[in-house]
Amino acid sequence: MSQYLPCPVCQSQIPIDLHLLAKGASLVCPNSACGAMVGVASNSLATLSTAVTRYQNLEALRPATKGAT
């Protein structure tokens, strides 16, 4: 699950980890000259956490799909 978010400050690609974001962690821009941190506001953590849980449930269908081959 490698995703990137363009840094609003320097447009560098910030790698996103949904699980970390859902736990309230902030992601730091890899551009050392920028140092911006992106996180999820506390009032949105529950929404994101629910979405991540549902996504994991959806992803659990993948082994059955591979077995069909």
Partner: protein, 223 residues
């Protein structure tokens, strides 16, 4: 005795009798059906998780509104020296926090949920062989022997005659025939189905959502 013209097994018939449609199409259909189920589940997941249903009114239709999550951006801002202050303020870096709303849709890795590789390899090998070996050998041996003896006497004369005769004949003929022919065929089928990329329209929507989070400069009051 086997005939040299004995036909070999027809390769075409062997392959024709195989249920190729079931052998190849079965797993592929199963994968496609699984992919379809995944797409349906993914769509349902999208609508249930990333959108909220908005009931329409008499004048508006039902719609789905994207669920937004609030994100915070923290960055350092350099506060310059203020020479007019008393005492003068040293330059400092102030952490400024900016909030912006982001559609939940844009941070979910949707396009990774699909059957990305289906590989079916079916090998069938049919071998047919025919061999004929003939060995024919004839041997004839003949032998004969005879002897004779005669004695004649007349007065004081006598004569005796003896003789013998023999013959020996050997005749041999051989024929060795070896005939062999073989036929083999191999049938290999490889099917690969990959995931299609996201439609350009969906990419455009996601790009628009992504670009919408870029900060913009607000006009200064009074200008």
């Amino acid at each position: 005795m086997a005939d040299a013209n004995t036909p070999l097994i027809s390769m075409a018939e062997q392959f024709t009798g195989l249920p190729m449609q079931a052998l190849i199409g079965g797993p592929l259909n199963a994968a496609a059906e699984a992919n379809g189920m995944m797409a349906v589940a993914q769509t349902k997941f999208l609508l249930d998780t990333a959108f909220s249903f908005v009931k329409g009114t008499d004048t508006t239709a039902d719609s789905y509104a994207p669920i937004m999550i609030q994100m915070t951006l923290t960055r350092g801002v350099l506060v310059p020296v203020n020479p007019e202050a008393d005492p003068p303020v040293e330059p400092t870096i102030k952490q400024v926090q900016t909030s912006f709303d982001l559609p939940l849709l844009t941070i979910l890795p949707l396009n990774s949920l699909a059957v990305d590789d289906v590989s079916i390899k079916f090998d069938m090998e049919v071998k047919s062989s025919f061999s004929e070996a003939t060995s024919d050998k004839t041997e004839e041996k003949m032998a004969g022997a005879s002897s004779f003896s005669a004695k004649v006497g007349y007065g004081i004369f006598s004569a005796e005659i003896t003789g013998s005769a023999s013959y020996d004949r050997t005749s041999s003929s051989g024929r060795d025939t070896h005939y062999e022919k073989s036929n083999s065929a191999k049938y290999s089928v490889s099917v690969h189905a990959g995931q299609l990329p996201l439609p350009d329209g969906v990419k455009t929507i996601i790009a628009a959502f992504t670009n919408a989070i870029s900060p913009i400069t607000m006009p200064v009051m009074g200008q």
